[in-house]
Symmetry: C2
Subunit: 249 residues, 2 copies
Amino acid sequence: MTYCVGLDLKDGLVLLSDTRTNAGVDNISTFSKMHVFEKKGDRVIVLLGAGNLAATQAVVNLLNEGIEIDGRVQTLASVKSMFRAAELVGEAIRRVYQIDGKSMEDHHVSFDVSFLLGGQIKKGKLSLFEIYSAGNFIEATQDTPYLQIGEHKYGKPILDRTARYETELYDGVKLALVSMDSTLRSNLSVGLPIDLLVYRRDSLEIELKRRITESDGYFKMLRERWSGALREAYRTIPQPDWAGDSAKS
Amino acid sequence: MTYCVGLDLKDGLVLLSDTRTNAGVDNISTFSKMHVFEKKGDRVIVLLGAGNLAATQAVVNLLNEGIEIDGRVQTLASVKSMFRAAELVGEAIRRVYQIDGKSMEDHHVSFDVSFLLGGQIKKGKLSLFEIYSAGNFIEATQDTPYLQIGEHKYGKPILDRTARYETELYDGVKLALVSMDSTLRSNLSVGLPIDLLVYRRDSLEIELKRRITESDGYFKMLRERWSGALREAYRTIPQPDWAGDSAKS
């Protein structure tokens, strides 16, 4: 599995993905799931993939080579808006499905892919999309400013509680890292290192791209502080007074 | 769905289950998933069920009526040990599967049930089991003193971080409630009220059984304190110093 999370905030985007890929528990590898298309001053588009690795890689390769639609070859470098970019990724998924889907099903491998697509093109709208196996997609909104793909449940409670559209960009980084930490601790199929990208609204260039490893001092500190704070929070909540109600001892 | 969690601690058992049952999103009901067999001074056995409601109810009914094995009718009131109790629940699951399984599959309904079984019989071992659809089971140990069934992922991180065999019984209650709260917030298919049971080792009677509703003062306080503590913990972690590294602004 994989865990990827994206935050679409007032000040920009925070995107975070793990790098673990496994085919069974005895075949575990590291693959970046974050693909960046940047042309400074023109566009920053970031694609995070989850699901079958062959299928997600095929989608990315097809997007890099370009997809012919009505006689014109389209790429993420040529599309005019983030909405069109999401449509193009959806089309790439459908084409890979046409080629590989039937054969994968014959071998009982489900064609299960999903993507987060975030970015901005020129003065256009900053957007974050989640694109499904069928090529259709949804967009993050101010009400729900985060999207997740892959092994999303462990890291969802903290997002539900604290992710707000107004969250400051580097508070969003903390939040994404805490969400990832919860997932890393509870699920073996999600693993370090993790890839982080921060994009500031209207800047049209990447503000921060960083691979975070086991030895990263900040991430270590965040994990320890968070763990300690949770234990402390749980410790300081008083015990229920029901204990006496029906205690027989 | 359902969420049930059990803690097998040094001082006894904590068992907690929600009550939401749904067949589609427009058919939601309240059913207790906690079934208690108590004979003071002799045994306390508690069964929590998740999965297809018809199947889990059939298992409980079969256990109440008794199961004939080698010419003798066995019930949870007659078994000699918790291990035998778990075997009996497993056998009940298999018999329900024999009757309903094929027909359910014909209607594309999966025979998907699981149970937590906790308790103690006389001076025997206090045990907590998780019993699968196939009727086989695992037991909680001092290394991993908790078991979950149903929608378990949202509430797992806090258990992974803080559940220890030495955890005091009513700290275990807090922990189970926090785990339930995380699940309630993130998943619509798990809902209040919730049923709590506390059993103290070697007491051979229920110490506390309580239905917790929306208006329960303690649970309200716990939810607010926990939410506040999480937000505060997240707020007080410093922002990463990488922001400066490659910031271009």
